[in-house]
Amino acid sequence: MIIIGERINSSRKVIAEAVKNRDAVFLANEAKEQEAAGADMIDLNVGTFVGQEPELMGWLVEIVQDVVSVPLCIDTPSADTIESALEKCKSMVVVNSITGETERYSSFLPLIRKYGSSVIALCMDDRGLSRSPEVRCEIGLSLIEQLTKAGVPYENIYIDPVVEPISCGPNTGRVCLDSIRLIRSQEPEVHIICGLRNVSYGLPKRALLDESFLSMAVLMGLDTVILNPLNKRLMAGLRAARALVGSDEYCMDYIAAYRKGKLEC
């Protein structure tokens, strides 16, 4: 399982404050803590700073890459911001995210190729986000085909079926789970990723929903997830889910986590 730490996102008040005050120490610490808790990548998002995003993202990349050894994940819909970040990145980086939308795809692809970065690809296109798992799967497969043809290595592609809040429409949780299942049945090896937290927006006791949804998604074939790695319960639940569905051979990861006290929560 690949875990991407979500905490450095300016839609969180503490992060917005720290970015505003250019508090490099605080932000570096947020990154280090996530790596220590098991994050395989660190997501960076400063989307709330309208007009300043490219400059701030570049600044953030320089701070964070000096204190962690894992790849960074540049979370933005803006090509300018991607470029400003990729210029500064010294090692492996993930672009979060491209879509099948013509404009976004064509402005991001040259940058991804130029810098050899990995990419998260959302299963939506110019028609918007479909309510049909079949359509989402079809968009995902077509993105894989286009990206690999353009020279992006298969293992650098992360397909995101898009998690919608279950509070916002009928059946949205199910649609996402079915999309994962369909994509996995067609592409046994590709990375499939979800941003977990969206699922519980608008409802009480969000952690409970996040945890349950995560184990269902793992069953369907999810292998990468964006979440808060400091949430011990979520991380323990993830290990349990992997052991239960057979993704953790001989339950060795589960047992090792137990010995390290990582299943206490």
């Binding site: 709330t48 309208v50 986000l129 809040p165 509070s167 916002c168 927006y201 608008g202 409802l203």
Partner: protein, 211 residues
């Protein structure tokens, strides 16, 4: 009036099958459409709005209440246009270009309709040119724009600019809203009004049109 109270409760509790049935019964007992609207439906949605704001209601409760309100409105709408005087005002509403979030916009549109305004809903991802065309065609009192993304907020400015260039800016008022949109942003882009939520949007609309 007990029946009005029952309708109000059905809407607040999201019992959408009953809100329609009760509305029909009220009409049969010769309550007027506007009595039902003003005595039950609007107070119900006002209460839902307050509960949501105070975190007493969760989003799905708001959405199902909206559905219950809608099933009553479906029955009343044709009657209202027959019996009532002209609508209090006309509004063209849409989510701006590049943005496909419509839950908040739909709530605002529904509350506006409930409050007796004629609503022309342009949907999502509405370009400045599309807004301009709709103003030329429908001559609304207000153009209302919703945006949920920081990246699409500039489209509000572009739409206001496009209205200016088309020589229409003086013929309509503009109102903007959506989670990331603030009063200071509204002032910056030259919008006439900003509302933080759907109830406030209706209040602003009334204030502007002095109705």
């Amino acid at each position: 009036m007990q029946l009005l109270d029952e309708i109000r409760a059905a809407v607040i509790e999201g019992r959408w099958e009953q809100s329609g049935a009760l509305t029909r019964r009220a009409l049969n007992q010769s309550l007027s459409p506007s009595e039902i609207l003003n005595g039950a439906l609007i107070p119900a949605m006002d209460e839902v709005g307050v509960k949501f704001q105070n975190n007493d209601f969760f989003l799905p409760e708001v959405l199902i209440a909206a559905k219950a309100m809608n099933s009553a409105m479906e029955i009343l709408k044709p009657l209202l246009t027959q019996t009532e005087a002209k609508p209090k005002g006309k509004i063209v509403i849409g989510t701006v270009q590049g943005d496909r979030h419509d839950i908040g916009k739909n709530l605002v549109a529904m509350m506006m309709e409930g409050a007796g305004f004629e609503v022309i809903d342009l949907g999502v991802d509405v370009s400045p040119q599309h807004f301009v065309k709709a103003v030329e065609e429908h001559h609304p009192d207000i153009v209302a724009m919703s945006a949920l993304l920081t990246t699409t907020m500039p489209a509000m400015k572009e739409t206001i600019q496009a209205l200016k260039e088309a020589g229409l800016r003086e013929t309509v008022k503009t109102m903007i809203g959506g989670a990331p949109v603030s009063l200071s942003f509204a002032e910056e882009v030259g919008a006439d009004a900003h509302a933080p939520d759907s109830a406030a949007a209706v209040a602003k609309m009334k204030e502007i049109l002095e109705v």
